[in-house]
Amino acid sequence: MLKVRIKFQKYGMMKFIGHLDMMRYFQKAMRRADIDIRYSEGYSPHQIMSFAAPLGVGATSDGEYLDIEVNSTRSSREAIAALNAVMAEGVQVSQYRELPPGTKNAMSLVAAADYTVDFKEPEKNPFTLSTLREALQGFLEGQDAVLVTKQTKKGERQMDIKPLIFALGPLAAPCMEGQEEEAHPGFFLRLNTGSSDNVKPELVLTAFFDWCREQGICDISYAPAAMQVHRLEVYGRDGEGELLPLGDFGEEILS
């Protein structure tokens, strides 16, 4: 028995496929790719598989993870090729690594995630790179707390998400010659992620846009369909408490 961590990308039309359907998708993909996955016992055996952190519908990603258990395995290179041969357009497997015995599963390891968020229609972007940098500085440094109202099962809850924002900065639009483009900046965020105190980029940017409005910086409110959220990476904490991409907990299988 072997534990394997798989990393994949999700883009294009696949961003509309929700988390539960992605789980079903991968269950079928494992069979198509002939991965020797382990099954539970009983009348309706299911594959031993768990996902790291659900991605919201509408978001794309370069860093999705799932863990599986296998009876036997091919090399990382061969398994990746076998999986990619049976993927739908918009899902691409980028890693397939063996986890050392005793590694916690992806779901319980998750500690942080990196995101970019962009305006889908650049002309709706009220910022330039410098105005955004200044506004974000004011938002983070000018406030002792970033209070948001979170919907929970028990009702509404006020919480301070400032300590959960590990990084929040402007992101220059890609341009030639290594210069920074002033127009159409996006956001980069590194946020606390996991089963407790999970923070989504939408929550942070809603608070930021609301703050901008109150400060009279610009008249804007967060419209989910107008923004493209993209997850770059998901992290766990290593023995020293340092953030480490989930894939780095595993090792390449050479043969």
């Binding site: 294009g12 039309m13 696949m14 509309f16 496929i17 359907d21 079903r24 998708y25 269950q27 079928k28 993909a29 494992m30 069979r31 198509r32 002939d34 099954y39 009348y43 309706s44 055996p45 299911h46 594959q47 519908v57 509408g58 049976v86 993927m87 739908a88 357009e89 918009g90 889908k120 989910p224 369909a225 107008a226």
Partner: protein
Amino acid sequence: MREPALSDEILLNIEKPARYLGNEVNMVRKDPASVDIRFAMCFPDVYEIGMSHLGIQILYDMLNKREDTYCERVYSPWPDLHQIMKERQIPLFTLETQSPVRDMDFLGITIQYEMCYTNILQVLDLSRIPLQAKERTWEDPIVIGGGPCSYNPEPLAEFFDLFYIGEGETRYEDLLTLYKACRKADAAREEFLRKAAGIPGIYVPSLYEVSYHADGVIASFCPRFEDVPSRVEKEIVMDLGDTPYPTKPLVPFIKVTQDRVTLEIMRGCIRGCRFCQAGMLYRPTRERSLDQLKAWAHEMLKNTGHEEITLSSLSSSDYNRLKELVTFLIEEFRGKGVNISLPSLRIDAFSLDVMGQVQDVRKSSLTFAPEAGSQRLRDVINKGLTETDILEGAGAAFEGGWQKVKLYFMLGLPTENAEDISEIAHLAERIAERYYEIPKEERNGKCQITISTSFFVPKPFTPFQWAPMNRREEFKEKARQVKEDVKAQKNHKSLKYNWHEEDVTILEGVFARGDRRVAKALLRAYELGCMFDSWSEFFDNEKWLQAFADTGVSMDFYNHRERALDEILPWDFIDCGVSREFLEREWQRAREGTVTLNCRQKCSGCGAMRYQGGVCVEGKN
């Protein structure tokens, strides 16, 4: 990468956007510019229902095997998206290339049940194709209908350019070749249709004229031109080993009704139940070869990754090599996490044994479809299932650990009387009593007998096609009667009764045996907002009643008359393979309560022998 026809903003605000995106595993990709014919294949219901239909998958695979054709899919947009598309003037699009349906050469619509007729109008409307066939030009696709309801295409005649009568595998080659030739020669649309009428199995409604007597009955039904055939014979595949089968079926992202591999083991049915249209239409019974099915099972599970496999046919227990097939499936796949989902098999030692292997007996239920409560009425409908069969089967199952039984009946069958109805509850009671014969310490609590009744709708090409249907009040009263009878049984706490709504049945009756004149009411109903009528949350009987009132179409005329044998029926121009004489004979025998043996016991001379194959020649060569 393909761009969706709908904006992110729309897709993020409707239910299940995956219904409209395509991109599923095994979706066929072609460059539309590289083909001569673009074909949109439509199942006029929501994606999850349409994607579960085997016939569409067969045609999708078959048409896409042609290099000159690209077949794409279309389903009915759910009401949430329907409203947005209407408001924002977004034309209906195909899933594969997200292109407007109106840009296609063909729009094929499978017509599986009467209550999807308004959805057909919805698809045409959203595609911006004129609803009336006569208003279409070469700017519109050729709209072609197929499937079981096309055996009485008349209620839909004015909305379709063509109907394909029978099994789809045989004549698309001829039709598409003709289409290409006509387009190349710059022929008029009418010319293409006229020539298409010469292809066997193809019915072009605009080329026929219907006249009516003063009492509303059809006076004549004739081709308008000499070269148009007066009868259209159904198409049928006689060598099932020789037809394409979708061994790489599409794998949807969202959960659909049939989320599994389907093996079609057989077409047709030997039983001859007199209410059953499928049992008449698909004669003679033809089996697929065991070796082919075994190979397909492997291939299809591998190509889809599905975790379940099931068998499809009208009566799987009659497949000659069922034991071998089921044993193979269990031995081959059971250990690999694949569920074997068995269709309703006749309950005997074998089926109980295999079901015990593939199901949790305590959770699963056994199904019997006696269809009628009394032996007398079962003889009338030629349902060869006796009370002894049921009690012995249920008894064996109870001994084997099962506790749940489902019973299916129909109310309103021809000649039905009060005693036939009361026998429904009695039969259920006797099954429950059989359960309680098991000593208390050996059984596992109570049993659960679920009785379901539907209302009988006489269908074309069955021996009951002349029979009057019950009225709404009769249906209501009969269901109430069963409910009371059930309550009066000693073991009523172990019995549960479900019944269908009668309003939908009444409409089904009108469209099942309607003629061209009921189209007015259908169109009006769509204008009033009727859609998704097979979904109880959307079915609006008030609107339907208004539609019939507004158009002056009488439901009673279609539902409650007993038709005379010499009346011209709207579907009489179709030759479904079973002879008129046979149906008349069976109608007579039904009224006498005489049973007709099944095809393997004795040939009843239905007419299907002319195809020289299947069960008709079994054991003879």
